[in-house]
């Protein structure tokens, strides 16, 4: 992106290219801004309906990460001639159901013929300009909150070779298809200093982006980080996707993982297909926030996974 021609400064652009945030935000009026995002990927699971749900939940998540409400979505589809059109309609049905669950509307889209199927959405959402949640702004003393367990990339890898248990797959599918709506709505009642969602760069990568942009250091506690139990076993056996190694390579200079096991490190670098929201909130609101999450009854595990400190040599330290 850095090689693209520069555009003239536009004061309406509230969140643009320069901070690698989750979505673009454009101010429409004094009290209204539009969030715009696009996301799609190739199948991560065999079941087309489930794949549609996951891809849509992932695309919608960018709007929640910015603190907004999704309003309008369009399909983006690539599909090969050799597959039955029934498969495509299942994928799109999964996507449409998620858009519905988000309270938004799906009003069209575009498809091309492509050897490998892909699916996703463009989503437009709305937010009050003063309530935009950026991926920076974490302050020393904050608590770091994560709204979904990790390990789905490793479970998917093991599932590809029929190695994952039914239980592990069931949990992984539920986590990936889960919409970040409820988590975002709970956090509407609290002070949010920074927010992002966990996707391809793994928990470590997205936490690192937040810590770096906020010029702070995160102390994360491995014992508090929720994960799908089987993912640790599969990581030990070497069922690790290539993306996890790529993430490790790019991120390891800025993090200190020396105190935790290799398998748990792999879990932190594991790319997530549609991960949870990561929040930095004032520590004094932690207990009330966790109580509110308890009441909201999410189908994923929410946990305070660490705290924010003044900037040290590394941006993230794992204990």
């Amino acid at each position: 992106m850095s090689k693209l021609p520069k555009f003239d400064f536009d004061p309406h652009v509230l969140v643009g290219l320069d901070t690698s945030d989750d979505a673009a935000v454009y101010q429409l009026t004094e009290d209204l801004a539009m969030i715009q995002t696009v996301d799609f990927f190739t199948p991560v699971v065999d079941d087309p309906y489930l794949f549609g749900q996951i891809a849509a939940a992932n695309a919608l998540s960018d709007v929640y990460a910015m603190g907004g409400i999704p309003k309008v979505a369009l399909n983006i589809v690539g599909f090969p001639n050799c597959l039955s059109p029934d498969v495509l309609s299942e994928i799109m049905k999964g996507g449409a159901d998620k858009v519905k669950e988000a309270g938004a509307i799906l009003i069209g889209g575009h498809s091309i013929q492509n050897d490998e199927p892909f699916y996703g959405l463009t989503v437009s959402g709305l937010v009050h300009p003063k309530k935009i949640q950026k991926n920076y702004g974490a302050k020393p003393g904050d608590c770091i909150l994560l709204t979904k367990q990790i390990g789905t990339g490793i479970i998917n890898t093991a599932a590809k070779v029929e190695f994952a248990s039914e239980r592990a797959k069931e949990e992984s599918y539920r986590v990936m298809a889960s919409l970040n709506r409820k988590g975002k709505e709970v956090m509407d009642q609290f002070t949010v200093h920074a927010c992002t969602d966990i996707t391809g760069f793994g928990l470590m990568g997205h936490a690192l982006e937040m810590a770096e942009a906020s010029k702070v250091t995160f102390h994360l506690h491995s014992s508090s980080i929720p994960y799908i139990p089987e993912s640790l076993d599969y990581a030990e056996l070497g069922m690790i996707p290539a993306g996890a190694y790529a993430n490790r390579k790019f991120q390891e200079a800025k993090v200190d993982v020396s105190r935790i096991s290799t398998a748990f490190q792999d879990l932190l670098f594991d790319p997530q297909s549609s991960g949870g929201l990561l929040y930095s909130i004032p520590m004094e609101e932690k207990e009330r926030a966790l109580e509110a999450f308890e009441k909201a009854d999410l189908d994923t595990t929410v946990s305070c996974i660490g705290e924010v400190r003044e900037l040290e040599e590394k941006n993230i330290i794992l204990y």
Binding site: A158, H221, S223, A235, E236, R259
Partner: protein
């Protein structure tokens, strides 16, 4: 008996599945696996380490890597299934009674433990036991010796947090209750000083 596998062209993590199958069929020998990408190399290294086998790898060309796993099972069972023993430290002293004596006893217990054969598989430290793996521990050097010899040393994260000594951890890893319970469940023997 040595074995060779050509896993070039197989998508990740299929080489791991093939290698695991081959390892299960082998008693002792070198398993050589050819793969065409580095992810597969790293995944095979983890697989070998999981069973505590020596692993070496070599880049033969841009698209060819060789991974050698030294399979060595004792009495026909892989090391993973060998009798396991976990030592559980729930306190930084040994037994009930005078505190000073308790501290002295735990020191000689850990020292003795570092000299037995076979060594325990894992050592778990919780509650005030967490002090034993921190910087100021009186048994630190023995624990480091044990760790070097391959004993898994795990300290309960919640406990280290509670006593505010997480940052002072000097040996082993911080673990969580799931890992601790799993280690204990899989252990054939649990010893508690």
């Amino acid at each position: 008996m040595d074995k060779n596998l050509d896993c070039k062209g197989l998508a990740c993590p299929l080489p791991v599945v093939e290698a695991k199958k081959a390892m299960e069929e082998m008693q002792e020998g070198i398993l050589t696996v050819l793969v065409d990408n580095e992810t597969a190399v790293q995944n095979l290294q983890r697989l070998g380490q999981k069973f505590q086998y020596a692993v070496a790898s070599q880049k033969l060309s841009e698209k060819e890597f060789e991974v050698r796993i030294e399979v060595k099972k004792q009495d026909g069972v892989s090391k993973e299934k060998e009798a396991t023993c976990t030592v559980v430290f729930s306190s930084n002293k040994m037994g009930e009674g005078a505190e000073e004596l308790g501290h002295t006893l735990i020191k000689s217990f850990v020292f003795a433990l570092s000299n037995v054969d076979p060594l325990p598989t894992a050592m778990v430290f919780y509650n005030s036991g967490a002090y034993l793996t921190s910087q100021d521990s009186p048994v630190l050097s023995d624990l480091k010796t044990l760790e070097k010899a391959g004993v898994k040393i795990m300290t309960c994260g919640l406990c280290a947090d509670y006593y505010k000594i997480k940052e002072k951890l000097a040996v082993g890893i911080i673990s969580n209750m799931y890992e601790i319970v799993e280690t204990e469940m899989q252990s054939d023997k649990i010893i508690k000083p």
